[in-house]
C-alpha cells in the first residue's frame, strides 16, 4: 500500500514539475531580458546578421515602450506577445546554427570575457603577475581564487571590453611571456596541490616580431609537455574562441569542455580559406569543413563536455552562462579530486595519447605483418607449467 501511494505521489509530482518547468522557461528569459540592471542588454546594432527577425521584434518592442511612456497608453499585452514571439524566434535560430554563425556568436562583442568570469564566478581573486623573465602579458591572467568552495589557480585569456583594454591585452593574442607566466603559476599550484582551471578565449597566439624573438613556439611547446604531467587536476574550458596553438598552450588537461557556441579550431576559418580556398572570403565554407563547433567536436570525442548556453547565446544572459560554467567546474573538480594523482596522470596520458586513436588503432592492426601478429598473440597467451616449447 505505501509503495503504491509513493508511486502515485511521484507520478503526480513529476507531472506538476514538468508543467512548472515548461511554464518557467520562457517567462524567465523574458524577465531577465527586461531586467533594468541588465548591462548586457542586446540593443540595436548588436544583432548578428542572421538575427534580423529578432532585431525587428526588438525594434517593435522598443517602439511600444517609447510610445507607452510618451502617450501613457498601456501596451504591456502587445509587448508580452512580441517577447514571446522573440523567444520562439531565438529558439528557432539558435537550435540550428551553422559553423560560421557559431563563430560569429563566439566573437560577439558582448560575449562574456574573462573579466566577467572573474567578477561573477571567482571569489577573493588574487592576481599573480609576471613571468619573472621578460614581463607581464595582459592577454593571459593568472591568480588564485575560489570557485564555489574549491580553491583553484585560475588561468585565463583575456580579450578586453573597451578599446583601451583591448590594446593593453593585445586583443587576446598572448605573447610568449604569457605562456611562461601561465606555466610558472601552474607549477606554484602544483607545489601546494591546488587544482588548475583554465578559461580559453583567444584568436591565436600573437604572430609578431617580438613574439618570435622570444620564442613563441618554444613557450607553447614547454606548456604542452609540462601541463601533460602537472601533478594536480586541470580543467580547461573554451569560453569563446579557441584559436589553434594559442588556445592549446593553456588547454592540456584532464577535461576539456566547451561552451555551446564557442569554437575550437586548428586554424582560423579565414586563414584556412586563404590557404585552401585561396580566398579569405570563403571562411564560412572553411568553418563548416573544419568541424569547429562544440557539437561536432563532441561527436568526434575531442571534447569531453558541452556547457549549455542560455537562449540566444551567452551574450544575452551573462549571469546564467557563468553560472553554468561554475556548476560544471565545481562538479568536475569534485570528481577529479576523488581520483588518486597517479591514476589521474595515467588517465590524462591515455586521453592525450588516444586523440585520433580510433581509426589509427584499426590501421595498425591491419598493417602489422602477419608474422608479428602471431608472435604478439603467442606472447599474450598465459604460460602454463609443463607447456611444450619449441625452439625457433
Amino acid at each position: 500500500m505505501p509503495a503504491v501511494c509513493g508511486q502515485l505521489f511521484y507520478k503526480l509530482f513529476r507531472q506538476v514539475h514538468c508543467v512548472f518547468f515548461l511554464l518557467r522557461m520562457p517567462w524567465r528569459d523574458i524577465l531577465i531580458a527586461n531586467m533594468p540592471g541588465n548591462k548586457n542588454k542586446i540593443t540595436n546594432g548588436d544583432h548578428l546578421d542572421f538575427e534580423d527577425t529578432v532585431a525587428d521584434l526588438d525594434q517593435q518592442t522598443d517602439e511600444l515602450h517609447r510610445l507607452s511612456s510618451v502617450k501613457g497608453i498601456d501596451y504591456s499585452a502587445e509587448i508580452r506577445r512580441l517577447r514571446k514571439q522573440q523567444v520562439a524566434e531565438l529558439k528557432r535560430i539558435y537550435s540550428n546554427l551553422n559553423a560560421w554563425q557559431t563563430v560569429q556568436v563566439a566573437r560577439h562583442p558582448k560575449r562574456p570575457i574573462l573579466t566577467d568570469y572573474l567578477d561573477m564566478m571567482v571569489k577573493d581573486f588574487r592576481e599573480l603577475h609576471g613571468d619573472r623573465c621578460f614581463g607581464d602579458d595582459r592577454a593571459i591572467i593568472t591568480g588564485f581564487g575560489h570557485i564555489g568552495r574549491e580553491r583553484v589557480l585560475l588561468v585565463g585569456q583575456n580579450k578586453g571590453r573597451n578599446t583601451k583594454e583591448k590594446v593593453a591585452c593585445n586583443f587576446g593574442c598572448p605573447n610568449p611571456e604569457g605562456y611562461r607566466k601561465a606555466i610558472l603559476k601552474m607549477k606554484l599550484a602544483e607545489k601546494f596541490g591546488i587544482p588548475v582551471v583554465t578559461l580559453i578565449d583567444t584568436p591565436g597566439a600573437y604572430p609578431g616580431i617580438g613574439a618570435e624573438e622570444r620564442g613563441q613556439a618554444q613557450a607553447i611547446a614547454v606548456n604542452l609537455i609540462e601541463m601533460s604531467r602537472l601533478r594536480v587536476p586541470i580543467i580547461c574550458i573554451v569560453i569563446g574562441e579557441g584559436g589553434s596553438g594559442g588556445a592549446l598552450g593553456i588547454g592540456v588537461g584532464d577535461r576539456l569542455a566547451m561552451l555551446e557556441f564557442a569554437y575550437y579550431s586548428v586554424i582560423s576559418p579565414e586563414g584556412c580559406a586563404a590557404i585552401l580556398w585561396r580566398d579569405g572570403s570563403q571562411a564560412p565554407d572553411a568553418a563548416e569543413a573544419l568541424k569547429l563547433t562544440s557539437k561536432d567536436l563532441y561527436k568526434l570525442k575531442l571534447v569531453d563536455a558541452i556547457v549549455p548556453e542560455p537562449l540566444g547565446g551567452a551574450h544575452r544572459n551573462v549571469h546564467d552562462t557563468i553560472y553554468n560554467v561554475e556548476k560544471y567546474i565545481v562538479k568536475t573538480l569534485r570528481e577529479l579530486k576523488r581520483t588518486k594523482i597517479e591514476n589521474l596522470l595515467e588517465n590524462r596520458y591515455k586521453k592525450l595519447r588516444s586523440i585520433g586513436a580510433g581509426p589509427t588503432e584499426k590501421l595498425r592492426r591491419k598493417t602489422q605483418p602477419a608474422k608479428d601478429r602471431i608472435k604478439a598473440a603467442l606472447k599474450a597467451l598465459p604460460a602454463k607449467p609443463g607447456q611444450i616449447t619449441t625452439k625457433v
Partner: protein, 289 residues
C-alpha cells in the same frame, strides 16, 4: 590564426623566396641545370646532389625528401622502418574547393612516393643505435596529422622500450588543417609522449630543417634535449607571411632563420648537412650514462 587582410605581403624578398607556402614550388628548369634560390647561380644538378643537396656556391641547403635524408643520416642499409603502411583515415571527411582531403592525399602519394609525412624506424648513425623519425616535406608540406602524431609517439615508445636515443628530423609547415582539432591534438599528444621519454631519462635530439613552423615547432620539434638546426632554415611559430600581413611592417633581414634562432637562444647549434652524422654521434656519446 590572426586577422587576414587582403593587403599585399610586404616581404622584402617576396619574389625569390618560397619557403613557407602551400603553393607548389617553382619548377626547376628540367634537365641537368638548376637555379639556386640562395645565390641565383645556375648549378649542375648532379654536382649539387653529390654535395648532399647543398649549393656549392652559397651553402644553400635544399629541401630533401625523407628517403634521401635517411640515406645521408643513417649507416648504409641500417634503417629498419616500422609502420610504413599506416595511412590517414580523414576523420573530418574534409572537402574543399571541389576536391577532398582523400584525393589530395592520393595525388601527394603519387607525387612524392611517400605514404605519410613521417617515416620512423631503428637505425645506426656511425654505429650508434638510435630511433629515427624523419619528416617528409613533399607530402602535404610535411604537415602533422594523426598518423604523424601516432608514428612519432610510437618512435618515442620504442626509444623508451629499447633505451635508445631518439633523433627526429623536423621539416613541416605545421599542423594539418584537413584534420582539424585531431591534428591540433597531436601537438599535445607528442608532447605528452616526450614527457614519458624525459622521465625515463632518454635522449631526444631534434634536428630542425627548412621549414619548421606552426604546430610542429610549437610541440615536439622545440622539445629536444639538444636542438640542431641546418643553416638558413626557416624556424618559427607563425609563418613570415602571416606575420607580415598582421603587423604590416617589413620583416628584418634574416628573420626566423636558424641563425636568428641561435642568436636568440633557441637552438644549441647550427650544423652543416655533411657534419650532421658526426655531430649527432658525438652528442649521443656525450649523453651516455
Amino acid at each position: 590564426m590572426a586577422k587576414k587582410t587582403k593587403s599585399k605581403p610586404v616581404l622584402s624578398k617576396a619574389e625569390g623566396w618560397n619557403g613557407f607556402s602551400l603553393k607548389p614550388r617553382k619548377d626547376m628548369p628540367e634537365g641537368l641545370w638548376m637555379q639556386c634560390p640562395g645565390c641565383e647561380h645556375m648549378l649542375y644538378k648532379s654536382a649539387v646532389e653529390k654535395n648532399m643537396n647543398v649549393c656549392p656556391e652559397c651553402n644553400h641547403h635544399f629541401r630533401i625528401e625523407a628517403a634521401i635524408r635517411i640515406k645521408y643520416l643513417a649507416d648504409e642499409d641500417s634503417f629498419q622502418e616500422i609502420l610504413s603502411e599506416m595511412t590517414t583515415d580523414d576523420p573530418l571527411n574534409f572537402k574543399f574547393r571541389g576536391t577532398t582531403y582523400k584525393q589530395r592525399i592520393k595525388s601527394d602519394e603519387k607525387k612524392s612516393g611517400a605514404r605519410e609525412a613521417m617515416r620512423i624506424g631503428k637505425a645506426f648513425i656511425k654505429g650508434r643505435a638510435v630511433f629515427l623519425a624523419v619528416m617528409e616535406p613533399n607530402f602535404l608540406m610535411g604537415s602533422m596529422g594523426f598518423v604523424v602524431g601516432e608514428k612519432f609517439c610510437t618512435a618515442v615508445d620504442k626509444a623508451i622500450e629499447e633505451a635508445l636515443p631518439l633523433v627526429a628530423v623536423c621539416c613541416s609547415g605545421g599542423a594539418r588543417m584537413h584534420e582539424g582539432v585531431v591534428s591540433l591534438g597531436q601537438m599535445a599528444k607528442t608532447s605528452a609522449a616526450l614527457a614519458k621519454l624525459d622521465e625515463a631519462g632518454g635522449l631526444f635530439i631534434s634536428v630542425l630543417t627548412d621549414p619548421t613552423t606552426g604546430g610542429v615547432s610549437a610541440s615536439f620539434a622545440m622539445l629536444g634535449d639538444c636542438l640542431i638546426a641546418e643553416p638558413g632554415a626557416l624556424i618559427g611559430f607563425a609563418g613570415p607571411r602571416t606575420i607580415a600581413e598582421t603587423i604590416k611592417v617589413e620583416l628584418p633581414e634574416g628573420f626566423q632563420t636558424s641563425e636568428f634562432m641561435l642568436e636568440h637562444g633557441f637552438v644549441d647549434m647550427i650544423v652543416h648537412r655533411r657534419d650532421l652524422r658526426s655531430e649527432i654521434a658525438r652528442l649521443v656519446d656525450y649523453c651516455q650514462k
